[in-house]
Subunit: 189 residues, 2 copies
DNA sequence: AAAAAAAGTTGCTCTATATCAACGTTTTGA
DNA sequence: TCAAAACGTTGATATAGAGCAACTTTTTTT
């Protein structure tokens, strides 16, 4: 099993080498170019992705054509449109690589088969969902209750790597503001 | 087991009567008055709640003293501050009943014991987390990408009962706008 | 049933952020 | 490596929604 995925498992659960190796074949390595799409709006999501290097962005495009970024998965994280993966409905969001990235892919049926039948994967999935719950709870209160400047300061503190690696346009779409406002806020920090 | 909770389980999973009855003693029935708090900011959440009648609201208070409502649990739904329940950290949000309510409570240790050891409860918990993921994904895009009027229209369509049962003040805090703006929007619908 | 408190409405004003446009800088890809 | 495209910055202007105050209506308490 790829060492980054191995660490991910071992950090969260008790699991022996043999079991880890038995899970390994379910994950296929794949390289994606910068700005390549893994899923587009309207398509049904068929894979869960684990980022080995680079990063993936989940975003949607609203009626006015503006992008809203919901989540960035950096190396060592799973990232996919779970809503579409779970429901089988067409996705309302896109998955795009923001850098040349290496990822492990596991298909939907294999993934949910393992969730049902491998306690280790069941626990991993639970952890993914719990982490998502925790971050989105904070995110909702943040979007509802803070102004742009405070959201920016919070992000700078919590996720400084975002500012080294992502364009202002993407950061703005993550903060829920325009690139113009972000540019002005940064100038005044 | 209380018939509403029983239906909740049976709608989601295969489970026999005997097993259901064995789970029943973990849930204690409780009546709460209108506007009573089950959890306050700063306290560690120790229970998961299942609403039999009435409703619970999860909300936080921001720096300026304004309330932001994240979720309303009506009858037949689980509702708690999972973030605090999972992490054991003090809650950043309040849990309050908005009506005279009857609820079932299960304490944290029992709940997570059952999640680990009863496949039925494991599956229920997974479903709760998955549903939360799906609704919050939509909610984030909604907060980021729509104006107040469209958020209001969406809510009127998706959750009309909210408008029959909750005050405008609460609805406004759920939409992320002031009660003044909500009042004006409703006048212009 | 009366008094008090809370919630809802609406006019006026203010402010944060969006929008548009112009221009310099960086990145991309042929 | 050079042209084209995308990105970033900044000024001027527009606008959605906030904040405040006064008033009415509804709800709660006694």
């Amino acid at each position: 099993m790829h060492p980054i995925l191995k660490s991910y498992f071992q950090d969260l659960i008790q699991i022996d080498e043999e079991k880890l190796e038995s899970l390994s074949p379910f994950f296929k390595e794949k390289t994606v170019k910068k700005n390549e799409f893994l899923l587009r709006e309207g398509e049904v999501c068929k894979f869960n992705y684990f980022v080995l290097s680079g990063c993936l962005r989940l975003f949607s495009v609203n009626k006015e054509g503006l992008e809203n970024t919901r989540y960035i998965a950096f190396e060592g994280k799973f990232g996919t449109s779970f809503t579409s993966l779970i429901t089988g409905d067409p996705s309302i969001e896109y998955i795009q690589s923001l850098e040349k990235s290496t990822i492990l892919t596991i298909n939907k049926d294999d993934f949910f088969y393992l969730v049902e039948n491998e306690p280790a994967v069941n626990k991993i999935y639970r952890n993914i969902l719990e982490s998502a719950y925790i971050t989105t709870q904070k995110r909702i209160y943040d979007l509802q209750g803070s102004d742009s400047l405070n959201r920016l300061k919070w992000l700078l503190k919590q996720q400084p790597r975002i500012f080294n690696r992502l364009s202002n346009k993407v950061i703005a779409s993550y903060l829920g503001i325009t690139q113009y406002t972000l540019s002005r806020l940064k100038a005044n920090l």
